[in-house]
Amino acid sequence: MTLQCLVNIIPESLSGEAHQDSEPSLAVNPADTGQMVATALTPDLLGGPNSPIFVSADGGQTWAQRLVVPGNVPPAGTRDISAGFAPDSGVLYVGILSPEVPVNRRQLQILRTTDFLSTAILSVLVNRPGPDQPWVVAGGIQAQSGQAVDRVYVGNNDLARLPTSATVDFSLDADVAASSAVFSSHQIETDAAAERDGPPVRIAIHPDGTVYAVYQRWTKTSGITTTFDVVVTRDDNWAAGANPFSVLTDPADGSVGRRLATKRTAVFGSTIGQQQLRGDSAIAVDPTDPGVVWVAWGDQPQGVSSPWTIHVRRSADGGQTWSGDLRTVAQGKNPCLAVNAAGHLGFLCQALTGTGAAERWETTFEVTADGWASPAQLTPLHSALAASPAADFNPYLGDYAGLVSIGNNFYGIFSGSNHPDKANFPNGVTYQRHVDWDAQQLLDLDGTSGVPDSIDPFFFAWTE
């Protein structure tokens, strides 16, 4: 059980860049795990008309950029972006907030390509106003004809639908559809008494057609202090029925959606280590058992003066009843969950440690076979001073990171300081960009001129 690689995915030809490439996501093709796509808040730094995705065709050992996402407005390129590969067809789906609308508007686009290495612009399947933070997860089935049928789910917070804003846009045949007509948009929030829902809406798919979604129901706001419940919904047949995501009900009032944690507190937009706190959420289902599901979220458990804390809980009955906290991480950020083919849980998390000028962002990957009943296997990935480099914008590291499991392997991505100090990477790292490790200096394309430190995305693969 080892870390296979940790790679800074900025391509060599962009050695001169000093951009804040925060908020990464990762897609791995289950049919060919050599094929990967990563995204981040990365523009085309030459100012071309399109934004990049990062691609790898060798299992993450080397990475390049393809400028295939429509629109490019610095500093984000596409604004929010995430990606997912369908498991059987190998089709890539990307969800973005389009930069081609005025900055005070949000425009969800769902994009598609059958060739992730192509330089052709991605096809636009959905183009509608309102949502925030699209989160793409793709599943699929084999039709009787033997043809793969992609089932694609895009969690989002549709602020045009306040207060019931937690939404899933989904398609049951996304690979064969030629137009946007086959994507449905379904509000999974049903409680009109909610003030609104929080930004992250996350999805987990089991191959048998069980689909979970988790979101945060804001029940009260006072200024920027929010009180919220963590709510899980479920569908048992790909959301194909008349009332999708309505299987789980809350025992307290019978309403749709099971509250697994209630009356949580968070100060929206407070900052630790230059990173604004705007909601954390993750969900994963056990591929060996659709009834076993894990959820993580962030809050301030003792009220507004207490530290932001990540919680991880588990359900063994399809989300109807839940454990208490199995793992907590004080000053944690960007929790990611995935379960491998052995039923072992992978947990990626970033955490602020230390105090004052010695504060550091530490990124650690954990694997547990028993829900932390015994010590998990810990793999420290990255550690860097939290005050450097200075933030150019929010989010500094991102409002999310990424973790995927295929077979017994885990693949993850996070953003962090690219300061080239080997002590920051206790298990090693590979840079594609030019660097002088002895001088701890990033280098430009000429191999001599210095380049300032910045935030870069880092990919890792971990094999059991």
Partner: protein, 252 residues
């Protein structure tokens, strides 16, 4: 040699180089297919590029020539106007125009101190002129233009409860010099104070800051907070830049 270098070519070209043909029909970027219009050049001189590629002279680069264009011979040198396609160990670009070597003139521009990580970059004189024209066109669209000092900043609007909420604030400017619009001794305008990635490029007025302010009639949710708004990267300039913006007249 092809090919008139029009304003459209200048506008679309993000990477302009003087380069020499190394080989035909191959690519230097993995998994980028090649055909008879795929040519590998060596960069002799960077004429126009952001800082990220300002030091790419000597690099081999893959160029997809414009469809139907003449294919040069190995050893030919020319000025290439390109737009990016892919970045890997090397770079792939698409041709948007070409000219004889030595045709285009370039200057080295050092960006202002406001861009914290900015570094020198070569810029075509023609592209710089085009940018200046665009800046003057932007100024021409402003409803109010004044020079003055920030005397008051106040939070306005609802608390920012969305990731990309603008976090509206209102600034009051004591007017030293007016250029356009009917304003009194002071003028109030709304601006997004959020440092979120959506809004970070909009200037944030600081207490006591002196500037040349290009203001626009407030619209949408901002309209209820002040008559005017500041929502564009290019809405604040130094007071002495009136001439650069093509602005004259006005008075104190």
């Amino acid at each position: 040699m092809a090919d008139a270098v029009t304003a459209d070519v200048i506008s679309r070209a993000k990477f302009v180089i003087m380069a020499t043909v190394q080989s035909l029909g191959r690519s230097t970027v993995a998994d980028i297919p090649s055909d008879d219009h795929t040519v590998v050049f060596t960069i002799d001189q960077v004429l126009h590029a952001p800082a990220v590629l300002a030091r790419s002279a000597g690099m081999e680069i893959t160029v997809q020539l414009a469809a139907g264009s003449d294919v040069p011979a190995v050893g030919d040198q020319m000025t290439l106007f390109t737009t990016p396609v892919a970045y890997g160990k090397s770079i792939a670009v698409a041709e948007v125009g070409r000219a004889a070597a030595g045709t285009a003139e370039s200057s080295t521009i050092t960006a202002g101190s406001s861009a914290r990580r900015s570094r020198p970059r070569p810029t075509l004189d023609a592209a710089h002129q085009l940018e200046e024209e665009q800046l003057r066109a932007h100024a021409a669209e402003a409803d109010v233009i004044v020079a003055g000092r920030v005397v008051r900043l106040e939070k306005a609007g609802d608390p920012p409860l969305g990731e990309h909420d603008p976090d509206w604030w209102v600034a009051t400017i004591a007017v030293d010099h007016w250029v356009r619009g009917a304003v009194a001794d002071t003028v109030r305008f709304v601006f997004p104070n959020s440092s979120d990635v959506h809004w970070v490029n909009v200037p944030k007025p600081a207490p006591g800051e002196v500037g040349l302010w290009l203001l626009h009639q407030a619209a949408g949710e901002a309209a209820g907070l002040a008559d005017y708004s500041l929502t564009d990267t290019y809405d604040v300039h130094r007071p002495h830049e009136l001439d650069r913006l093509g602005l004259g007249g006005g008075g104190s």
